[in-house]
């Protein structure tokens, strides 16, 4: 084999791998966008489902996903930021700290369906919250926690020690230096991490299966103690459980497109925050 041929083959192997990965993305996006776009309309995103889910829109599922993501943020962000502050600003390198860090790493690896079981056992049954928006939100909050802690700690770590010392040197307590100087500087990084985590939470299905999501709510109220509809679950039901699966396929494509748009919008805003911040520096 000539040298040239060999090097082309070698190159080709890597190129084909990379090409295949890109191809996957293109197929996914092309299929969902081209077929989903046909179902997408103002009515589709602002109307209630009708005729046993074979017609109408998906407004309740959009509202449900938005509310669910908000609750997730409200649960996980303060908790996660506080834990990250403890780890980065206070904790010394001892056994307790190492156990906390190991717990976070392991929580990040726990399968999402197990979070679903935990939410079921703890919130739905143990704390008698029933299958509800709040139970599902709390469950997704726990799932998001390790990611928020990890990204927040990274953002805090990037703040140089001299910034903290500046505040301490004028007589600030440690809390004051964190509140007035460290957090304001770290906010863009923290926000980026939170938004990225939420974009993942918005697409999660397994953790909400038994904690509060429903296929159809005839009167979506948004009350915390009631069941709710959500985009990913709606897509799952339309594509696997509906009695007229072929008939609702366009609706399923439309739902998939809306879900992907929601997730990508969250991702884009995270990149925007990061970009804007990097320009300010």
């Amino acid at each position: 084999m000539s040298k040239k041929l060999a090097s082309i083959l070698e190159w080709g192997t890597l190129l084909i791998s990379t090409g295949t990965v890109c191809f996957f993305l293109v197929v996914i996006m092309w299929d969902i966008i081209s077929k989903g776009a046909a179902s997408l309309s103002w009515d589709f995103i602002t109307a209630l489902p009708t005729d046993g889910m074979t017609k109408g829109g998906i407004l309740p599922a959009i509202i449900g996903t938005v509310l669910l993501t908000l609750i997730t943020a409200l649960v996980a962000a303060p908790f996660g930021i506080s834990c990250a502050i403890y780890l980065n600003e206070y904790a010394s390198d001892n056994w307790t700290t190492r156990i906390i860090r190991a717990s976070i790493r392991n929580l990040a690896g726990v399968p999402s369906i197990i979070y679903g079981l935990f939410g079921l056992a703890l919130f739905v049954q143990g704390l008698h919250m029933g299958t509800s928006l709040i139970s599902a939100g709390l469950t997704l909050g726990l799932l998001s926690l390790p990611y928020i802690i990890i990204t927040t700690e990274e953002a805090l770590r990037r703040i140089p020690a001299s910034t903290r010392e500046a505040a301490l040197a004028v007589g600030a307590t440690q809390l004051e230096s964190i509140r007035d100087v460290v957090l304001p500087s770290a906010i863009p990084g923290i926000l980026t991490g939170i938004v990225l985590t939420l974009s993942r939470a918005a697409g999660e299905t397994a953790p909400i299966l038994f904690t509060g999501v429903a296929f159809y709510i005839n009167n979506p109220s948004g009350y915390l103690n009631q069941e709710f509809m959500a985009l990913p679950y709606h897509l799952y039901m339309l594509s696997t459980q509906h009695q007229a699966i072929e008939q609702v396929r366009p609706l399923a494509y439309g739902t998939a497109l809306v879900l992907i748009i929601v997730v990508f919008l969250l991702n884009l805003s995270a990149f925007y925050i990061r970009y804007k911040h990097s320009k300010n520096e």
């Binding site: 010394s92 390198d93 140089p160 020690a161 001299s162 910034t163 903290r164 010392e165 500046a166 505040a167 301490l168 040197a169 004028v170 007589g171 600030a172 307590t173 440690q174 004051e176 007035d180 100087v181 304001p184 500087s185």
Partner: protein, 253 residues
């Protein structure tokens, strides 16, 4: 000059970072209203010693300190006095200007605010501090501008203004001019000589000329120990130790 009362002292101080001993049996006193320069080769522990005096090591868990630090004969690591209070009475200016990411005005106002200075007094104090740091004329029309837009020298003077605004008793300076051009350096040196009237000043410097220009006393450190200390003039013209001689003549470091 040597009749001045003792403002600050370290007694039998040893300091370790983990297992590494960085300060060894430090004994030193700093008279009131005097500028003392700390000199010595890089890594000898000057910054480490300086930071002990306003308890900046409290945040690093692997720092272990033994010995005593006295401010007006009171132990500043004593239970009766908090780190916050110590830092308020002993201000610090750092090597690299570390202004807050806030406006020029807020940079000085922040310390006043958290230390409960009455609101009505604050604008006057801010102005006074900026004047004392020879910055007022340059910034008086832009007090709302982000401090980060100032030049390096201006930022360092703002850091000094921030410190003097709190009227501390001692000011610690860790190579305050190392990142500055000669003109800014000259301004800050002038400022330090001026501040001496009201404050006791400790300054770390690598610049031998600077030490001779502004310091009344000089302390020479080497490998975590104080080798020699005394009047600046005698340290530079008539050092008693060979190490000191070699260092001030520029043979190493």
């Amino acid at each position: 000059m040597s009749n001045e009362p003792i403002k600050l002292a370290a007694q039998h101080v040893d300091l370790w970072f983990g297992k590494k001993q960085v300060l060894k049996n430090i004994n030193i006193t700093f008279p009131k209203n005097i500028v003392t320069a700390l000199i010595g080769p890089s890594g000898c522990g000057k910054s480490t010693l300086l930071r002990c005096f306003n308890r900046m090591h409290d945040l690093s868990p692997d720092a272990h300190i033994e010995g005593k630090f006295l401010l007006d004969e009171q132990d500043i690591y004593n239970q009766k006095i908090s780190a916050t209070e110590v830092r308020r009475r002993i201000g610090m200016v750092f090597q690299k200007a570390n202004t807050f990411p806030k406006s020029i005005y807020e940079n000085i106002n922040y310390g006043l605010k958290i230390n409960d200075v009455p609101k009505a007094d604050r604008p006057g104090i801010v102005e006074q501090a900026l004047k004392e740091s020879y910055l007022w004329d340059e910034v008086k029309d832009n007090l709302d501008m982000p401090a980060t837009r100032l030049s390096g020298g201006q930022q360092q003077r703002l850091c000094i203004a921030r410190t003097v605004a709190l009227r501390p008793e001692v000011i610690l300076m860790d190579e305050p001019c190392s990142a500055l051009d000669p003109l800014s350096t000259a301004k800050i040196e002038e400022l330090i000589v001026e501040l001496k009237k009201d404050y006791t000043i400790l300054i770390v410097t690598h610049n031998m000329q600077q030490a001779q220009r502004i310091a009344d006393k000089t302390v020479f450190m080497y490998l975590g120990e104080i080798i020699e200390s005394g009047n600046t003039k005698s340290i530079f013209t008539d050092p008693q130790e060979e190490l000191t001689t070699n260092y001030v003549k520029g043979h190493f470091g």
